[in-house]
Symmetry: C2
Amino acid sequence: MNFPSKILEKAVEEISGLPGIGKKSAVRLALYLLKQPQSQGIVLGEAIKKLVSDIKYCKVCHNFSDEEICEICAHHNRHDELLCVVEDVRDVMAIEKTGQYYGKYLVLGGKLSPMEGIGPQQLRIESLMQKVENGLVKEVIFALSATMEGDTTVYYLYKKMKHLPLNFSIIARGISVGDELEYADEVSLGRSIRNRQTYDGAS
Amino acid sequence: MNFPSKILEKAVEEISGLPGIGKKSAVRLALYLLKQPQSQGIVLGEAIKKLVSDIKYCKVCHNFSDEEICEICAHHNRHDELLCVVEDVRDVMAIEKTGQYYGKYLVLGGKLSPMEGIGPQQLRIESLMQKVENGLVKEVIFALSATMEGDTTVYYLYKKMKHLPLNFSIIARGISVGDELEYADEVSLGRSIRNRQTYDGAS
Ligand SMILES: [Zn+2]
Ligand SMILES: [Zn+2]
């Protein structure tokens, strides 16, 4: 592509560096921004800069946060005896959206996947152990993807924690087997966390 | 969606304001940026801000430009006697990419479309007339979309200019009838501008 402007070329180059956005789409997006009120591009650019500069990770649960400790961990009405283990921040957002859960979270940062080179070292298992060893947690709820890797991870974590005085549960498979959690619809996901089942490493 | 961070929420809101990017994709893009080196988001944000703040339109041809007059208009090796009329800046980029054209351009800013409320007033016809009345232009090449609206626009412009001592041509319909110009492949588009045909308002 021959660009009439280095400024345009640079913007297109950076926009097309995003996943799923090819060069043609990037040109379209850039030209779209040029047709909108200037403020839209200014605000967008500023929001992206602020996103990567100012966002923090909660020191307790590894959720994103604007403070050291996230809103959920800091909230006095959230039940400390419930700890929901999820793979990803998106899963926290998905579960929060259902309005069916009032406990705390632990964001693992992924699931065990030898294929992708993700072993226990890559997950926040130390944070999880700290959390469950503090004596406040009574029930660990596994809310991982209903895939083989999700199941393997659940089993691995269960074995690490089963010596502790904890109840374990796993969200009901109202979500179809094979589903990635984050794609589940809100209602099914809400139902499946409400109907969570005791987990004993055997199911 | 319940966002764990106002900063994330704002970024997602702004990203999903772009056409073709829904809220889910915006979340994905934001989380992607958070996983990349911080510099990528900074550079992207800055490039977008600069795009909408600093880009100019060439005073002569209405192409985008970093200066008052664009590189093409300012280039002493580009032939002043050829003037290629296109709808859009993307079309300039597409034709430049073929490497088959060495003249100048005039970016109309669209095509006549009563359906979309685009009449002659919305197009840069005044700039076109100024350009062709300066005595340097010998041939006007119509490179508009091969659609009914494109054809109507060509005919309208031809009638406005036919009293002038100009040759008129239209890019060969190597591109399929009904094609939007900007989707044409590079080779076909290059061939069609090389094989442009004389236009007399009758074809
Ligand atoms: Zn937290
Ligand atoms: Zn120009």
